[in-house]
Amino acid sequence: MLTEIATKPNSYREAYTALQASKAGDHPSWLRHLRENAFARFEELGFPSVKDEEWKYTNVAAIAKAAFLPDVSEAVSRSETGAGEPAKFGSPETLASQLIFVNGKLRTDLSSVAGLPSSVVAIALSQAIGDERYAEIVRSNLARHADFVANGFTALNTGFISEGAFIHIPRGITVDQPIQIAFIADGEHLSAASFPRVLVVGEENSSATLVETYSSTGDSAYFTNAVVEIVLKEGARLEHYKVQRESQSAFHIATTQADLGPNSSYDSTTITFGAQLSRHDYVVTMDHEGVECWVDGLYLVTADQHTDTHSVIDHRKPHCTSHQLYKGILDGKSRAVFNGKVFVRHDAQKTDAMQTNKNLLLSNEARVDTKPQLEILADDVKCAHGAAVGQIDEEELFYLATRGIHPDLARNLLTYGFAEEVIGKIKVESIRAELDEAVLNRLNARLEA
């Protein structure tokens, strides 16, 4: 898996060395060792190559070539952008339950968690590591779920762990207001790499909603490499929305790993609109009985955007249910990759797994490579999967036309409806409304083009 670009990681070594040398007192030895192991692994693996089966359709050579520089200084971005305007970056529902990161650094002036129950923790990861109340729970979970041995990007992120968020929902606590973690790339001439790291732990019978967003104020080419680890204990519930609206020139690579405890419930919706190139590795592991999860998503790409979703839904124990609906809308010369693996292991009897990937092509030049994969080792299970790639249906267009709706408008309405099946399930009103509008704007821009 080593390729010619694997020599490039040296550009990250300097930053890595600086990070390990800085703020020495704040870094417990376990974290230093973790970074050391992970960075060493990154140097071994390098960036993946298209010769790697898992990266066959997604070429990340541009990320290596660009040599994005991570900012490991302690200084918080002092750009005045957004100062005093927390509403600009968060959502109305999360004004008192949001952590806002600008160019990878937590902006306390834009963040507030005053609206959360006092027992709920939502703080910077670095703060959690240094706080003896949380140090142990962080140490016992961080990088214990998202595997950095196999994935070079996860290894790179882990080698740079410092900025990010720690969310802890204590036992039995229900948090009504959604908690938002927003990563904003601010500036016109960014060429930075940022390594957001998020750890969410939902204790027994807790319940919460997480909104994870990535956005940009300009059109810079920058590199986000995020890793999110989610741990749900027995009976815990989490609704998780990820909205990726990076700049159209950016690179967004992310791993989400969810480890789900007995009888827990995890409902996730991932919306992908942004980035020139994006890749999301999503791993949901059910190593306990009675789990139910939804792993849904929508990607909407245009022009020369490329998006790749690789998901693994791993049924390891009996009586778990998984639902996956991923939909894609592709325009221009865009390209999408969907690779969805559902594993039903030997012990996972009475599994109920459903997986669907549907793609709507709006142009003749767009292309999608879809590969739903079902591997079943248990014999008493209910599983189904399917994939579809199609265009707007002529009979549907005719039906709308007979109601006086112009074909252009009808196409937009049908495309909107296609997206709505995923967007419509978002329960945070402002996020849903914003996405609805974004879909319509994209479609209208298409008409005007």
Binding site: T402, G404, L409, A410, G417
Partner: protein, 258 residues
């Protein structure tokens, strides 16, 4: 209102309509009957402008305008409506959104101001009474998960909102139980005025017990082979279509000039 002159049309090179002549005046209700394959649904689709059908000869004037030159959406905005035999499902778009969009497209065409969602909601609530539909249908996706009867009622609701001058109802009675048939027919009767016209395309006489036409036209092999008043429908019900087909094949049925 509508004048069809020597209309020939087909699909994929097969001629299905072989010279239809029909004149419809405002205030009238016409029934087009005929056996399967006679061309009655084709006639409905050609009037609505289905892109798969090709008109090879003849003309259709709607209020003096050449209907065949207009795109389907333009025909609709001019006041032609077709209720589908198999209404299409539109996932992700609510009935209310869809109806408001269609309604406002028509308003724009007429140079009238568009209605905002709240104003439209009131109008929709009023019109929904015509087919006894409750508010829960308005927030559901268009036709998605609707029963056969609900879909047909939804077609008539669209007609109630769009208030067409000419409504072509294609096999609206098919697949309806007696209660749904009564509601659908009741809706059409409420919407029929001296200013508009209705074409009922149907295989069975049953619908005509509820919506009474002044004129009945019988189609066979792409031609109108018999015309008469509402009694003709009863005669067909009693005798079936075979005698018509046989007679048409033998050329024994006179085709009345319209």
């Amino acid at each position: 209102m509508l004048e069809i002159k020597d209309l020939h049309a087909g699909i994929d090179g097969n001629e299905i309509l072989k010279g239809i002549n029909l004149t419809i005046k405002k205030g009238e209700i016409h029934a087009i009957m005929g056996p399967n394959g006679s061309g009655k649904s084709t006639l409905a689709k050609v009037l609505a402008g289905h892109p798969s059908y090709e008109v090879t000869k003849g003309e259709v004037l709607f209020e003096g305008k050449n209907l065949l030159e207009l795109a389907p959406d333009e025909r609709a905005r001019e006041g032609v409506f077709m209720a589908f035999q198999y209404p299409i499902e539109v996932p992700g778009v609510s009935n209310a959104q869809f109806l408001r969009l269609a309604y406002n497209e028509k308003r724009k065409h007429l140079g009238e101001e568009e209605l905002d969602p709240l104003e439209f909601k009131d109008l929709l609530k009023e019109r929904a009474k015509v087919v006894e539909m409750d508010a829960s249908f308005m927030s559901r996706s268009v036709n998605e998960g609707f029963s056969g009867g609900e879909k047909k009622r939804n077609e008539i609701l669209q007609m109630a909102v769009l208030e067409p001058k000419l409504a072509v109802l294609d096999e609206t009675d098919s697949g309806l139980d007696i209660d749904a048939l009564r509601i659908v027919a009741g809706g059409v009767n409420q919407l029929h005025t001296p200013e508009n016209a209705v074409i009922l395309v149907t295989h069975y006489q049953r619908l005509l017990d509820y919506i009474v036409p002044q004129f009945v036209h019988v189609l066979a092999h792409g031609r109108i082979v018999k015309e008469g008043g509402k009694e003709l429908a009863l005669e067909l019900e009693a005798k079936g279509y075979d005698w018509i087909k046989t007679a048409a094949d033998a050329g024994a049925v006179t085709i009345p000039a319209s």
